[in-house]
């Protein structure tokens, strides 16, 4: 019935034979990449200089050696694979993507060398660089995949290594491209190029590890995507570690415990008072506390109420889509715009000066879309069976909502609120515009003690609510702009530390609660 043209290839053996030589040669560049990343990273961060030594060897030499080792392994793979010493399953070509990538590297490399080092004019370097780039790209397209991947990557690594080895690129080397007010120094470029070359060789090696072909490309891609995820984790950890390292000791300095219940933590429990020589952020902490409380009182009833209405009562239609657009619009409105709005709308109506109350309302507006969106998701995910079961027992819709739907959605709603608090507690711009007056205050707003009844409207007043206040993020901003940080950097770091501690605690609690409830639901 049919000519089965492809039949022969389906008898491929099921198992793949791993060659130990291939595995060994391709693991090395991946290992050297990690080494280059660590050593180069330390150098870039200024922790080590290129001239200092690691294990008795100069760092510049270490980086050069890594480049040669990684490049050499790849070139060995390419030769072995080409002459059949190492068994691989490459495709006919590495493809246009790889070709244009390396072609672009060649183009920029040649172009930069010609124009900057030899000072050739645009008319000379541009065609030469173009020819070079196209030659590289063409060679990759027409070469077999194993060569097209390993040879350019290996040569790239070896070329950079040679530049450093033969003093084409020294730590003292500097290049200021015309038109940019910037100078690239050898001290930065050497570690940077080593890391880049390391990444390229490691990608090629991951490709080779699986013997090229579809499996190889998958390995290469997964390596890059995994490296990206690792990088993000690393950035997060470094950010946190950096702030903890710089701020922790300043923040906990001078803590006194005892005798008895006497506990004094100066940084957290004192105000900022030059006369008393106190440098604390107590007013800011209390300010942030009241801002969060006020925003919650504003946003939670409105947000949850609207979420219930939208999911349980309103039918999908023009009304809900208008609300959707409004909610998502509010969610993406920049915080500084909220600040301007508060300045125009609230400040003139609340005593014509910046006030805690205005900040509460503006932050409440910012929290509202977050609460609404997460509560709506939570209520939506309550299975209809629950509602049907309750309705089938003759329970009214409202009773069902009150007794069945909202309690089942509670974990989701609470998680959303907690994460929302984390977000608004760190908001600076609106506070800056509608709440803040003096960044370094000596005393905290006394909300509870300031309520007074009056005979004229509005019958109840609270002076503290209607005056300005500080808040943690604003305290940090104020410390930067008023120059406090310049004189006493530790104060800024310690404020950042406390702020991060407050905000991230809400995130950790929120995320943990969510994971806990999800696990409980699954079990």
């Amino acid at each position: 019935m049919s000519e089965r043209t492809l039949r022969n290839q389906s008898r491929d053996p099921l198992a793949v034979e791993y060659s130990a030589a291939l595995a060994g040669l391709s693991v090395v560049p991946i290992a050297t990449f990690f080494a280059a990343f660590v050593v180069g990273g330390l150098t870039l961060a200024g922790q080590r200089s290129l001239g200092s030594t690691i294990l008795g060897i100069e760092i510049e030499t270490v980086l050069t050696a890594l480049l040669f080792v990684a490049g050499g392994c790849l070139l060995a793979i390419s030769v072995g694979s080409r002459y059949g010493v190492i068994e691989t399953t490459p495709d006919r070509s590495a493809g246009l993507g790889v070709a244009s990538g390396f072609g672009f590297v060649a183009f920029s490399g040649i172009g930069l060398a010609m124009s900057q080092t030899f000072g050739l004019g645009r008319l000379v370097w541009a065609p030469l660089a173009l020819i070079g780039g196209l030659t590289v790209a063409g060679a990759i397209v027409f070469a077999r995949e194993d060569l097209g991947v390993t040879v350019p990557a290996g040569l790239f690594s070896v070329a950079i290594g040679s530049l450093v080895l033969f003093d084409g690129l020294t730590p003292a080397w500097a290049w200021s491209p015309a038109g940019f007010g910037v100078t690239f120094n050898g001290t930065v470029l050497i570690p940077l190029l080593t890391i880049v070359a390391g990444l390229v060789t490691a990608w090629a090696a991951a490709n080779a590890f699986e013997g090229f072909g579809a499996a190889g490309r998958q390995a290469g891609a997964f390596f890059l995507i995994g490296a990206n995820a690792t990088l993000i984790l690393l950035v997060l950890l470094l950010l946190i570690a950096f702030i903890v390292k710089n701020g922790f000791w300043y923040a906990v300095d001078g803590i006194e415990i005892g005798p008895g219940l006497n506990f004094h933590w100066p940084f957290v429990m004192d105000g900022y008072d030059v006369v008393l020589n106190q440098k604390g952020i107590y007013p800011a902490i209390i300010g942030t506390f009241w801002l969060v409380v006020g925003a919650l009182v504003m946003a939670v009833p409105i947000g949850v109420g609207a979420a219930v209405f939208l999911t349980e009562y309103a039918e999908e239609g023009r009304f809900t889509s208008v609300i959707d657009i409004a909610t998502n619009g509010l969610w993406s409105t920049p915080s500084v715009v909220f600040g301007l709005f508060g300045y125009a709308f609230l400040v003139p109506r609340l005593g014509n000066n910046t006030s805690l109350l205005a900040g509460m309302i503006v932050l409440g507006f910012m929290l509202l879309p977050l609460v609404l969106i997460t509560s709506r998701e939570a209520i939506k995910s309550v299975p209809d069976e629950y509602r049907d079961a309750s309705a089938a027992l003759g329970v009214s819709k409202w009773e069902t909502i009150k007794d069945v739907t909202i309690p089942s959605a509670m974990p989701g709603i609470v998680t959303g609120i907690i994460i929302g608090i984390g977000r608004i507690a760190g908001e600076t711009a609106p506070i800056l515009i509608v709440t803040a007056d003096n960044p370094q205050r000596s005393s905290a707003p006394a909300i509870m003690g300031s309520f007074e009844l009056t005979t004229s409207p509005p019958f109840i007043v609270n002076e503290a609510l209607l005056s300005g206040s500080s808040a943690l993020p604003y305290q940090l901003y104020g410390a930067i702009t008023t120059g406090v940080v310049g004189d006493d950097p530790g104060y800024g770091w310690a404020t950042a530390f406390v702020l991060l501690l407050v905000v991230l605690s809400f995130y950790v609690i929120g995320i943990t609660t969510r994971i806990y409830f999800r696990k409980k639901l699954q079990a």
């Binding site: 120094n185 409105i302 109420g305 009562y313 609404l372 600076t428 991060l500």
Partner: protein, 355 residues
């Protein structure tokens, strides 16, 4: 009582259970609240009476007709969400109108002499250009890295790595922007001056990268939702004829979630456009264009940092110009948000069909 209370739009709520004496409560509640709002807009002094009246009606309603009252209150909550947006729009436009009127198109583009308080001339051209540059750089960071981490989280990560990376990306979103700004100000600015020979503290490239890092979690989490909503049976089809996981991701999963991923990138761009504190603290906030225009190592100002750094001593036209900057920001971000929603709505429609 039954489910007959479904309402389809706002007009129904005034009168959902007409004839049993509940609508007066709703009308009274609505009227007092509207009164409160109007009085707050025009005569803030008497607002308290309306608020008290509203509370009275609400409490009465709660004890007498709980369901109708609850529903009415929730409806008012829903409306107020839209109302907040309306108020923001109205006040931004009202306050910025004189600036647009006086400066005309020069507020968007002019040659030289951008910002002069002496001449009372305010052009946002440098700030707009600064925002464009930082947003482009931020998108170059956030879009590829964000989409890559979304692919990692939803398709590639083994479960242990999933448990680590997903919360980590969320936590990254939680770091307050002022903290990023502080690190940029104290560490990175100095680093750039020491190692890259920059002559002034603050540069567009630093802001771009930092803001990109801040927009990354938005891109990652929205894109992850889009990617993981591609149904398994569609991917199974590719895997079952011997495509590798990566081939399946490239040729089935990513094309199918393409719209959702573009929505994610748009929302990330929106975050980058509106990011304020990091830009304010890191940049020099000088009202000048980088020289030449594409010099990302230069110093300038963005729309957001312009507002945050100048609102304190601004009056009259100067303040109105800052509101004009707010209007441009707001319109840009709303346009991005609405486009993203339209794309997502289309995705939902498509996925609701055969996928």
């Amino acid at each position: 009582m039954s489910n007959s209370l479904r309402t389809s739009d706002s007009s129904d709520i005034e009168n959902p259970t007409a004839g049993d004496g509940r609508s007066p409560v709703l009308v009274a509640g609505g009227a007092t609240l509207a009164g409160a709002l109007l009085s707050f807009l025009f005569v803030p002094g008497v607002t308290v009476f309306f608020v008290l009246a509203f509370l009275g009606v609400a409490v009465y309603g709660w004890f007498v007709h709980q369901e109708a009252t609850a529903k009415g209150l929730m409806f008012l909550a829903t409306i107020s969400t839209a109302l907040v947006l309306v108020l923001i729009t109205a006040y931004l436009f009202l306050r910025s109108f004189p600036a647009f009127e006086q400066m005309g198109l020069e507020i968007l583009y002019t040659n030289g002499d951008y910002w002069s308080r002496g001449d009372d001339r305010y052009s946002l051209y440098p700030a707009i250009w600064g925002t464009v540059l930082t947003t482009i750089l931020a998108t170059l960071v956030a879009a590829p890295l964000g989409v890559a981490s979304a692919i990692f989280i939803s398709e590639i990560a083994p479960s242990w790595a999933h448990e680590i990376v997903k919360p980590a990306v969320e936590t990254l979103a939680g770091i307050p922007s002022i903290v990023y700004g502080f690190i940029g100000f104290t560490i990175i600015n100095g680093y750039m001056m020491d190692n890259f020979g920059l002559t002034s503290s603050g540069s567009i490239v630093v802001v771009g990268v930092v803001v990109g890092l801040m927009a990354l979690p938005t891109v990652a989490s929205v894109a992850e939702d889009a990617i993981s909503s591609v149904p398994d049976h569609m991917k199974d089809g590719a895997v079952a004829i011997g495509a590798t996981e990566w081939q399946t991701i490239k040729s089935v999963t990513l094309p199918a979630s393409f719209s959702g991923i573009s929505a994610a990138v748009l929302l990330g761009v929106g975050r980058a456009v509106g990011e304020t504190m990091a830009a304010t603290v890191i940049l020099g906030n000088v009202m000048q264009l980088p020289e030449p225009l594409y010099n990302v190592f230069g110093n300038t100002v963005t729309l957001t940092s312009l507002i945050a750094s100048q609102y304190g001593n601004a009056h009259g036209l100067h303040m109105q110009a800052l509101f004009a900057a707010g209007v441009i920001l707001f319109l840009t971000v709303m346009a991005l948000s609405i486009t993203a929603q339209l794309i997502e709505a289309r995705v939902k429609q498509n996925l609701g069909g055969e996928l």
